[in-house]
Symmetry: C2
Subunit: 358 residues, 2 copies
């Protein structure tokens, strides 16, 4: 039986990537040693980092004015690192509050500057079901921080605003899933473990002219300039994670790049949402216009259907499709690597469940 992995992250990887990664662990490029075991400064490994950077630049259209870094610590580390690098004492930055991760980003930024939450879509019950529109930034704010896709609640910013200041975006759960204009952004950061690779690597894309303007002393590892100067090799990088990320990007090239995968992602999401809207036993949990194409959240109308539907899905090889503990219901995370057949399996389960319970 095929297993369909709807995990929100760490998440499904393209099968050819998984197979190449396993083979390289046993023997990297015929060297007799595995990819986990070779020096990051060896001739064997060093080209991997350059390759990953070059592929990402080409796929996303990242201009030369931006650095591409492969760091550690996840987006949670970036929540502090971004303001630490971009804000001087007394500087102001604007944030939108659209979910759990956005609110964590706000909390950390307050260590380093004056943070204005210019919009929040938090509802009375503590959940979030939409993203804000018509944003007005604060006079003098250095940047506007936006979580591009809210993994937990299943909302997504489909159009990035033009606000006259750089956007900073946590794109952990939708980077490389759709075409974006990098030049709108001062910083883009993303934990790799959804669309780019395994956990333990964080991609940071930063416009270099925004750096060096803060008056604070930044410890070496927290300073983006350290990693820019060293090409992400100031200290031992998460070498295997970058290697897998490079394989994922190679696979993405074969999907027609980001325009190609976007088309596939749009079709996958449209198909699943259409079934949620059609099927009288289920409903979506967020505003239709803000629905995420990565994390599809839905609930049964009848709460008592939750367990039997869960059992049906499990019996058909689907795993990790339950909603985050703060939301409940179901969440199908359908990142780049989830094939259309996985969506079809979920839809078929919904239809069969309707037949026996409708």
């Amino acid at each position: 039986m095929t297993t369909w992995n709807f995990s929100s992250g760490p998440a499904i990887l393209p099968r050819p990537v998984v197979e190449k990664a396993a083979a390289a662990i046993l023997d990297f490029k015929g060297s007799g040693i595995g990819v986990l075991e070779c020096s990051h400064r060896s001739k064997l490994y060093e080209p991997v980092v350059a390759s990953a950077e070059a592929r990402l630049r080409k796929l996303m259209g990242i201009p030369e004015a931006y650095a591409v870094l492969f760091l550690q610590g996840g987006a949670s580390t970036q929540f502090a690192q971004v303001p630490q690098n971009l804000l001087a004492s007394g500087d102001v930055a604007d944030y939108t509050d659209t979910g759990t991760w956005a609110s964590k980003a706000i909390k950390e930024a307050k260590h380093f500057g004056k943070i204005n939450v210019i919009a929040s879509t938090k509802e009375a019950d503590g959940t979030y079901r939409s993203v804000p529109r018509n944003l007005q930034v604060t006079e003098g704010a250095k940047y506007l921080h936006i979580t591009s896709n809210n993994t937990i609640f299943g909302t997504q910013v489909h159009e990035f605003p033009d606000v006259g200041i750089p956007l900073v975006s946590d794109m952990s759960s939708d980077i490389c899933s759709r075409v974006i204009d990098v030049e709108k952004f001062g910083v883009i950061y993303a934990g790799a473990q959804k669309n780019l690779g395994p956990s333990g690597v964080t991609v940071v894309i930063v416009r270099k002219d925004l750096l060096g303007k803060t008056d604070r002393a930044i410890p070496t590892m927290a300073d983006y300039r350290t990693h820019i100067d060293a090409g992400s090799m100031f200290n031992t990088p998460p070498a295997f994670g970058i290697f897998v990320l490079d394989l994922v990007l190679e696979w993405l090239e074969g999907q027609g790049g980001i325009p190609g995968i976007q088309k596939i992602n749009d079709a996958k999401a449209a198909k699943l949402y259409a079934e949620i809207d059609r099927n009288p036993l289920f409903q979506g949990t967020v505003a239709v216009e803000d629905r995420s194409r990565m994390n599809v959240c839905f609930v049964p109308l009848n709460k008592e259907h939750e367990d039997p539907f869960k059992k049906l899905c499990l019996s058909r090889g689907m795993v990790d499709f339950t909603g985050h503990r703060s939301v409940g219901g179901f969440r199908a995370s359908i990142y780049n690597a989830m094939p259309e057949a996985g969506i079809d399996a979920m839809i078929e389960a919904m239809r069969d469940f309707e037949k026996s319970n409708g």
Copy 2:
């Protein structure tokens, strides 16, 4: 031909670990999904972190008063994180300067307290060939920081001093290679990529009563208490790295634990140093009493022998045995996972080289 991997890190892993890791990438515990692709909060993965912690506690004899954390960012991140958590503004800490990594630790600590370098073994030529003895700590110092093994120069602290204050030690290159008394230490930290696993995981062992005494606001991810409270799962951990680390510890149990591997390590190092001392064409680079049992550094007496000896070793399947660019010559890193046969191969090359060049 067998390949002998003398890399200083990322370094050789036990072959059974490598094979299990490759298999788990294809299918983790018969689940149908790979270990890179499962949620860190899944029933499938979560036991891995608990297992790794339990094994490390038992192997090293870590008392309950200490937390065991699996973090990201390498020892270089700990250089700042240790003083950030342990020192209040105005507090003093003592450091020894015994090499490149020690001096980096000193530099970062200065962001967070008054740092006294109470001993340095730096020589006029910028290298280090010994470790200091008879240390006198500063009145009121909160801790004494020691690099237990200096990877680049090949020196090692064989006896940790009793100085009446907690020791803090970067043990990146010799953790779990020999028996130590954890209770002498306030903090032990180590990048995994030498004796514990792949790069991208950092082990931190911290005495819990030392925390919460600083007056500074610590960003969430930099605060050890965050990770203690969340069992190293505050955010997505470097899941695969911890999985491999757990396999390495399982392997170590099979070697007779740390007393068992120490005996093997001592024998391996003694054998190689004996050949360096016997062979008239080579000499060791550091004080005999401070020689590292992990990184064996030596040079040919005749500089013109460097290239031909290198070629001979390469022709026999040895890789990554050249000294760090700041030292030159040769460095055989012989961590836990290097079998005695690898040392024998190096010794045989030295003897054969003597025969044809002596």
